[in-house]
Symmetry: C2
Subunit: 246 residues, 2 copies
């Protein structure tokens, strides 16, 4: 028995999220079915992040156990012939038998893409949330810096999470414009349910000048979700990279 870690990219548009569920097709299920075809035995995979419906990934990580003799680095070639084009396996490696893709993460980086232009785009519509009013990305970037470090992010969580503590650490956060696109990048040790989408929604309000930039400080002090803006739509969110101890 080997434990294998694979890296995946997917376009979440067509899926009901990462995790198997009753309604809709989950990415986990599609990958497990491809792995069963490849290895000849049922396989259960565990992802680092249970991304929601519509959320994308450039670097999701997942582990599984198998008796298969497929060399670990060949999994991308084997699985990509079996998977639909909107799910791609980018890498495979053997890991120790106690490695866990979710519990062993040391950090994750998410991106949130905003298309800031008078009219929506046709080519970026699946990965960018359209915001027609002009946004001040410098104000967004500056306000976001108040989230750096270790804080109790209780105000930044949607109902439905199941976290023991709401203390998290953000290592890096930035808002950068490139033409009509503004990308929020958030790198932290772990995230509460909908945390990045709540940060993104609040930053859109700040960039538009409708939300006070100090609302982040108030939310951190009070733990009150109502200090913050909307939960931004799922399709702007991308799981960029999952980090493990080297």
């Amino acid at each position: 028995m080997k434990r294998i870690l694979i890296t995946l990219s997917y376009d979440g548009t067509a899926y009901a999220g990462w995790q198997r569920q009753l309604n809709g097709i989950a990415i986990q299920q599609v990958v497990e079915e491809a792995l069963e075809k490849a290895t000849g035995a049922p396989v259960k995979i565990t992802g680092a992040s249970r991304t929601d419906a519509g959320v994308h990934a450039l670097g999701q990580a997942a582990h599984f156990d198998t008796e298969s003799t497929i060399p670990p680095e060949k999994y991308p070639f084997v699985l990509n012939t079996l998977l639909p084009e909107d799910i791609r396996v980018l890498a495979g490696q053997e890991v120790g038998e106690t490695f866990h893709a979710r519990f062993d993460t040391k950090g994750k980086r998410y991106l949130y893409h905003i298309h800031n232009a008078p009219h929506a785009g046709a080519l970026n519509r699946r990965t960018h949330v359209h915001v027609p009013m002009p946004l001040d990305e410098a104000a967004m970037h500056e306000a976001a810096q108040s989230l750096l470090g270790v804080h109790d992010f209780a105000a930044f969580a949607a109902a439905g999470g199941s976290h023991k503590t709401s203390v998290r650490e953000i290592y890096e956060i930035s808002c950068v414009r490139r033409g009509e696109a503004i990308t929020l990048s958030v790198y932290g040790n772990a995230f509460l349910y909908n945390m990045v989408r709540i940060i993104a929604g609040t930053l859109i309000g700040i960039g538009h000048g409708k939300t006070e930039p100090d609302c982040f400080l108030k939310a951190l002090e009070t733990g009150d979700r109502l200090c913050l803006g909307i939960t931004a739509p799922a399709h702007g969110l991308i799981l960029d990279e999952v980090f493990y101890e080297a």
Copy 2:
């Protein structure tokens, strides 16, 4: 009667190209149907470029005549509520009654996107052509410079074009890498049928070291299509901008 010029962006994936045809749905047709709903009368539109099936646009231009009293700058708002999400109108303006979106162009810029990585991507699969072998973008850029200026591009045309002359001028051409993406940008006065895709296919061979960089010079001298590489796939091609006299 007013003549209106609109700017469009589209994801060409689902369409049989710009121009109305017997098989498949054309972008022209979808836009004409939306215009008929908006203005209450049948409308015929003329595009600057008759993009092929699968080819995208960030800035296609098209004109039409109408008796409608819709203010020209309101066409994006009116049409985008009627069009599918993969076709967006970005701008509208009134032009003179003799203006012609195709015959009056002073230049066009096309982009060709290559995803150069061991495995294909899930999120860029509609707009980037995947090339797994490593490409030398500096060699591609240098070879491309030999196409600058006025030349007879007879060797750079697929059968099926209907051009009086094959003399064209290229104003700017570049190959730039950004991470795993290489973008070819070609700005010229006009283009022969499949010209940019033939340039892209040849540059991929040059970047891979399988094609001699001086093949462009030989092709310009001899007019022989066989000096050049394959016609690269349609889905990497994007009509970026159409230029008119100010």
